[in-house]
């Protein structure tokens, strides 16, 4: 059995059929996991200034870029093993770099609260064994973490939930659209206006405290009644909710305080984003947006979005991420004017504009290691295919030696 790196569920029941040293077929994976394990069509090749180069020259050039930089940033590592993340932090410390990752504009706010123990949480195994009320809030797990409902939450039998979804479990969706997850939550889909989450939470809190909320009174009292009766509940917080309440995130803590039987689960996309957050938190007390300068300093200006907008970085090392694809175009405009070093198994939009490209092994397929599941459990990754690609951990180590 192998572990899938398609998302932060890290499904560890995967079978792979290998032919000619490539994964020909996978079993038990979702569509995303299967595509990821089979690998992208276009492999990254070492290059300097978009011209093919040998591997050693690429490392040397990347080190030169970092030596000449007065304000470098190391970004990514959410699709890297825990071991590579530790190495990345060491490199950032050595060169006094700014360090940030995708969580900075994704689930970082939520994971930080969980690591600070300001929100109650539990394991996915607890949910499978005990949960009776499941709330998908701003989260379309069916499309983003497709095996969430079947492996852990709604469909499986659990120790105290022998009759699964038919009798023992109730799933609720709160969303701005009727997502594929909302479709499964028949009769318990609450459609809210865009950015209506705060108002919905306030009304729900009123209903939970026995008052009749002005907002959607009947539905809100019904929902409060279901939540109050729960024996073991879970709120799966998607980025839909996180984005919507980002300026008043405490409101989620206030709601959680009124629901003592509920646990908060961050719905994480990248397979080891939580691992990155945990590693940096352990090292610095912060989950992202850190500058190392003897000590670690945390400020919003060290978020990749702000650093690019303010043009405050003069070199960027990207590991296993594609900011040119994922960031607003208005923000990435600064990127082509600074040297970018891209470390990735495959070609990306970022690699197409990078000054230096360094290919690495695809973790969980071509290299082993460990990763942190969305609930904080450490899961082992195995190597399935043998080849000569260095891991991103090895490349970061080489860079550290060379700078």
């Amino acid at each position: 059995m192998f572990t899938c790196t398609g998302c932060a569920l890290l499904c560890d029941d995967i079978e792979a059929i290998v032919e000619n040293n490539r994964i020909k077929e996978t079993r038990n994976t979702c569509r995303r996991g299967s595509a990821r394990m089979k690998g992208a069509m276009f492999r990254l090749v070492p290059s300097i200034d978009q011209k093919p180069a040998d591997f050693e020259s690429s490392i040397k050039k990347a080190a030169e870029i970092l030596r000449n930089s007065t304000s470098p940033m190391l970004f990514g590592l959410d699709n890297s093993t825990c071991e590579a993340q530790v190495k990345g932090i060491q490199l950032a410390k050595k060169i006094n770099a700014i360090m940030d990752d995708t969580s900075s504009f994704c689930q970082g706010l939520l994971i930080e609260k969980i690591l600070q123990k300001k929100l109650r949480t539990c394991s996915l195994d607890d949910i499978r064994n005990k949960a009776d009320v499941l709330v998908y809030w701003g989260s379309d797990a069916q499309d983003s973490q497709p095996r969430h409902l079947s492996r852990f939450s709604y469909f499986p039998r659990g120790e105290s939930r022998q009759r699964g979804y038919e009798e023992d479990r109730l799933a609720i969706a709160i969303d701005v659209r009727e997502s594929n997850t909302a479709k499964i939550c028949k009769g318990h889909f609450y459609r809210i206006p865009l950015k209506g989450d705060r108002e919905f939470i306030l009304a729900l809190m009123e209903a939970l405290s026995g008052k009749a909320p002005a907002y959607d009174t009947k539905n809100m009292l019904g929902l409060a009644s279901i939540l109050k009766k729960a024996e073991f509940g879970a709120i799966f917080v998607g980025i839909g909710l996180t984005y919507s309440i980002k300026n008043d995130f405490e409101i989620l803590t206030e709601l959680a305080d009124m629901l003592p039987k509920f646990n908060i689960m961050p719905m994480v996309g990248h397979y080891n984003m939580r691992g990155f957050n945990e590693a940096l938190f352990k090292e610095t007390g912060f989950v992202n947006r850190v500058k190392f300068e003897g000590k670690a300093v945390h400020e919003n200006k060290y978020a990749i979005i702000e650093a690019l907008k303010n043009k405050s970085i003069d070199a960027l090392v990207v590991v296993g991420s594609d900011p040119v694809l994922s960031l607003p175009r208005s923000v990435i405009a600064h990127l082509p004017s600074i040297p970018v070093v891209c470390i990735d198994p495959c070609q990306t939009f970022t690699s197409k504009i990078a000054a230096v490209n360094i290919p690495c092994a695809a973790s969980g397929v071509e290299s082993a290691g460990s990763a942190v599941r969305m609930d904080g459990k450490v899961i082992g990754l195995k190597k399935i295919i043998e080849n000569n690609y260095l891991t991103d951990e090895d490349i970061l180590k080489r860079l550290m030696e060379a700078v």
Partner: protein, 137 residues
Amino acid sequence: MGIDIGKFLKNPEFEILITTYRDIFQVEALERDRFGEDYKKLSAVITMSKNDMQKMGFKSGDRVKLSNNYGSVVVEVKESKKNEPGGLAFMINSPWSNILISGETDGKGIPEFKHITAKISLSKEEITPVTEITFHK
């Protein structure tokens, strides 16, 4: 929605509110080949309710231009298969939606990826090639 003025223009323009979401088929295409036609075909799309499509005179398969202060992009419009009440359109998160996202964050580092306002109108232009959005040649 500017309908009255729009009647007198060749391609009337409408204000539209858009949110973004994730789609398993699109992310599968992304993992396989982010430069390929499948990824483009699944990404460069805006989905709207039947009501909104009728109001604006669009039919599935039409090309539309979306524009705001941050950029403009040509995508295909499709009618939602779901029972959407209207007033909100949907794009899968991709470079084609990212072109319309404001970089304004109040210094807090999180753009409004799921809250886009734009103008929409029928277009005869081709779907915007990804290379125009992502700088690569």
